[in-house]
Each structure stands twice: as C-alpha cells, then as structure tokens.
Subunit: 351 residues, 2 copies
Amino acid sequence: MKKADTPVMSTRQEITIYDIADHLGVSSSTVSRGLQNHPTISESTRREIAAAAAALGYQRNLLAGSLRSRITRTIGVIVHDLNNQFMSSVLTGIGSVASDAGYDVIIAYSAQNTAKEALNAQNFLKRRVDGVIASPVCDNNDMSHFRLFHDKKVPVIFFDGAAECPDSSMVVIDNAGSGYQATQHLLRQGCRRIVLVTGNKNREVYAQRYKGYAEALRDHGISVDDSLVLTNGLNEAAGIEAADAIMRMYPRPDGAFITDDYTAAVCMHKLTDAGWSIPEDLAIVGFNYDFISKVVSPQLTTIQYPGIEIGEIAARSLIDHLKGYYSNGAARIVVRSQLVKRASSQRLGQM
Amino acid sequence: MKKADTPVMSTRQEITIYDIADHLGVSSSTVSRGLQNHPTISESTRREIAAAAAALGYQRNLLAGSLRSRITRTIGVIVHDLNNQFMSSVLTGIGSVASDAGYDVIIAYSAQNTAKEALNAQNFLKRRVDGVIASPVCDNNDMSHFRLFHDKKVPVIFFDGAAECPDSSMVVIDNAGSGYQATQHLLRQGCRRIVLVTGNKNREVYAQRYKGYAEALRDHGISVDDSLVLTNGLNEAAGIEAADAIMRMYPRPDGAFITDDYTAAVCMHKLTDAGWSIPEDLAIVGFNYDFISKVVSPQLTTIQYPGIEIGEIAARSLIDHLKGYYSNGAARIVVRSQLVKRASSQRLGQM
DNA sequence: GTGAAAGCGCTAACAA
DNA sequence: TTGTTAGCGCTTTCAC
C-alpha cells in the first residue's frame, strides 16, 4: 500500500515486513508476529514467513522496533580507562554474558576525563540504552551525570570504584581487606618498614587499599609513616620513580606493596638492576594478578582481581534487573579476591 | 497536536521536540533544525530552543533520527578475541578516533567461533551500523557472512588477518617482513637451528610470519626443518609445551622465534628454570611488544605491533569513507612494524 | 489465528 | 526564516 505509489526502480529500498506481507498475501502484523515467534501465529504461516524473509534477504530493522517498543537491548559500558588487562577482562566478561542474553554492548571510553564521561553518559541516554555498567573517572566528586540515569530510570551498576554513589548498585572486591592481607603478609615475612605505592586516594579503590595497609600496620603496633607512602599513580614512570625513591630512603625499607603488577614489575626490575635482591632486601607484593606477575623473576606475589568474573556478575545482575527478576534497590556485590603468594615476597623458608 | 488527546497524567511520557515546540509556539521542524544547528535557523530562536530543551530535560532520541535518516553513527567492531593487550590497544585506538568524530562503537566478541561471528555480523546489519571494523576468526575459509555487508553497501575494514577477502580494505603490518627480520636477526647472532613457535597457519598473519621465517633461512642457505616448527597456538600452555619440546630436540636448537610475547616469556621462564641460559644457549625473539617484553629478564627482543595506531587508522579511514571523502575501492594500508632488539637475543657483544 | 490502524520521535522535501 | 506534511519500519492494541 504504502509502497504502491513508489516507483519500483530504486534498489536502495530496504526490504520490510510489508514486502514479505505482500509477497505472502498476509498483513504486516502477521509478519511481525511471525518473525518474533508470537504464539498466536500458526506454525505453517510462521514457516512461510521465515522462508520468504530468507528468500528476500530481509534484515529486521532493530531501530524501528526499539523506537516503538522502547527497548533497545543495548547495554552501555563506561570505562575511565581501557588499555589494561583488568579492563579488557571485565569487558570480556560483560561481552559474553550480554551476548548470550541477546544484548549488545556499546562502550564509551572516558580517557580519565570527567567532562568526556558526562558527554558519554548523555549520549547513552540519547541512544536509549537499557542499562549501564560503569567504572567512573572519579577524579573529583562530580558524579552528577550519573544522576541522569537515575532520573530516567536507567539502571546503573558500578565496578572498580565509586563508593560515593548512594543507592546505586556495584560489583567490587574488598579493597580494604586486600590491602590488609597484602600488608599483613609482608609483616609476617618480617618486614617492618613497608612502602606503599598506589594511586590517587580520591579514587575509592585506592583509598580503601590504603586503609587496609594502615590498619594492618596499626594492628602490628606500627604507625603509618607518610614518607613511605607514594601516591603518584600507577604506570611505568611511577614504577621507576618509586624505585628511585625507595633507593633514597633511609633507613632502608624492607617491604613494598605496589597496587599494580606492571608498576611493581617495573620497580622491581629497576631495583634488581641497581643490585637489590628481591625478596631479601625488599619483599614485594603487587596487585591485579596480571599475566606479568607470572613471568617476571622472581614471580610476583599479588592480589587476584578477577576481572572476567566481575564483568560477568555485573552484566548478569544488570540483565536480571532489566528483566524484572528482582526489583530490589541498590545492591553491593563483593567478589572474592585473594592473595597469591609467590617468590617476590617469601623471605622465610616457610610461609 | 498529537499529544492533545492524551491524558496528561503519565509521567513516563518522553519529552519530545513537540513538547519544546508547544512550549515555544513554533513548529517541530524548527525545533529539529534548531537542535542540529541547521544554518537556516536564526540565532535567537536557536538559543531559545536550546534553553527550552535544557529546561525540560529533553534528550534527543537518536533511534528515531536514525530510523528516518538511515544513518546511525555507529561503528560495529567484530573481534575474534578480546582479552589480550593487542586487542585492547586496537579498541583504544578505534574508540578515541570514533568518539572524536561523533561515532559510537558497538563491539561483538566472537570467541574464536565462526558461527557466532556470523550471528554477530547479522546482528550488526539489523542494527544498521554505518560501517564495520573486523578481525575475523578465520578458522576455516567461511567468510561468507562478511559478504552480507558488501551486499548492503556497508563498508568493512579488516585488521589482523583476513587476506582472503578480495576487494576489501584492511590495515595490517608486514607480517612476512617482520618474520623475515626476526629470523634474520637471529641468524646474524649466529643462530643456525631456529625454532619457530606460532599459531595455526590458516590464519593469514601466522602464514605470513612463517613465510618470512622460511625465506630468511633460505636466503642464508638453510633449509626449513619442519621438526623445528611448532604451531600449537600461542598461550601459556603452548609456551610450556614449546619449552619441553625445545629441551627434547637434538641437536639442540640455538634460537627461537616465538610469535607472541607472553608465550615467549613463559617458554623462556621454563627454560631458565631448567638451567638454560638466555640468550647464550638459546636466543629468543618474541612478537607484539607487550608490556611483558620489558619486564622479563632478560628483556625480550620483539616485533612492535602497534595496536593503537592500527585501531586509529582503521577507524579514521572507515569514517573518512563514510563521509564520502574517498570513494576508492579496496585499500590495503600497511602500518610500520619494527624489530626491537633487547637482551634475550643479543649473543654477540655488538649488534 | 489474522487484519486494520495508530503511532514511537524524528527528519526533510516542499511550501510559504 | 519557518511551517506543513509525509513518512522511516516496526509493534501493538483492538476488532473480527
């Protein structure tokens, strides 16, 4: 009908359910229903519809459907950083769960920039994503752009940070506990002057790790010495800086908790080059359970930060929520993390 | 108008351009034009429109726009694997270029599975992505699902593989040349029995690296000894297997080209544990320029595989194409890769 | 079990 | 510079 007055010459025309309907002499609604396996359509017509669709090379237009149904089957993922093993693990986890559930993932990369993150959030709203999984920048306290989602009833699940969002769900590990464990382990190896190399304490994850570090020390009757706490970030440069700082410290430190494996590896490398023995001179504990931790020598003791699992859990709980399985409000899921003891910290014959 | 007969009680109603139009006493098309900074709209009304939009908390519905305009500003990315440093670098590159150009990226992860990849391709068609960037599985020769894009005039750019797609664009490195360089380097270090550890030769990248390896040997008057070529994949297990195999070889090999840094690192580790000296007993060259290559000891000689750059170039050329900047057909962009010489292969005092 | 008709929110040709 | 009007392709009551 709609197409009757259009000249048939255009090959750029999309094939629509109307074409299938015309072809079969049924109505467009029958085709629509047939395509989505609606129970009220007879098996035979459904089969005919499927056959015609295939024959005509029909590809359903999800845009049109989403516009009408207000459901996009799209999950938006906002990450402050992308190019590291933890994040790609999380994405892998999210991707596989989402895909199995018929959701697509659109990812926005904020490059450590709150303004850009806000833009990304707006954009997700315009795309009408069904839900959001986010690891926010958190370089200041401006999380207001996440409130937009709340206003529009778009569920958000945070991971890797963002404790400051009240009534929001999140999937995290016990960062304070992990920091405590790592530090306690070093103390048990006989360390007394333990350096902490970590990121900016504005980020909740780092604040928590610091807290655990401080508590463990206190529980062993040691007070925190701020000159041993280095918070200049976690990357190659920071690892080198940390090594330099450590070599200048007096009295010498005897342990280091470096909350990123790559940074720890770089630091360790620099120290061994300078003649230090690891773990004899300095016992080291990293964080993340990167591939790297396994191939450096000595192998790095580290805290396992299960990225794939975190991604899977976040995606699963978001999708469950979207399907209305639970309507409970904010949830805080704590994923198990654990200390993996290896040579870089084992100073005693035994553990 | 459209809304006049609707009871006003529903708070779930979206705010649309009609609301803004009513609010301002102008037509919806004026609002639409104002919102997209159409030149024919006066500065003053445009400002009013923007103000009203902000005041009402309006969020443009991109679905509706895309449905009408047939442009989604979405790039689909298909990757056969996700959880490795090269891929996350590529994604980072794609993401930053796409985002700057106003495109969103939706990623589909095929988990080394051709059937799933085909499904992902179909899905992208249904979502009406404007263009595609893909690193296909290629475990067999079935690439037919990519022809769908061709049929619908959706441009595709491949990276990391897929030479078998005629008249398609791609961004690659010179894998054969890199393989040649790596092997030649080992030969120049005095190696004569050089092991090759690599992936399945069905994948074009591995086939090419093999080709370079073989050519370099031949150019030095050495014929390829298939017992030195291990193609059981590239991962931790393969690294260990490779080390075991190497230790069993007789006569002993004196060099190894392992086309993945992590695999190379694992293999090297296992060999040093068994008492081998690197590079004295075995000179090793890896591939990828992973972080890992820098923190193992000895540091790993490797081939730089510039992921971020590849992603950026792929995204840029796809977007340029979408904007109609060039209408040339298939292009093959070869990105510079190079040998990074480090301790794991330097047997002679000089280079 | 199937059809008619309205409309999701936006864009863009054509008028004015 | 702005308004009118007709869809984009699909879903979904409501009717039969």
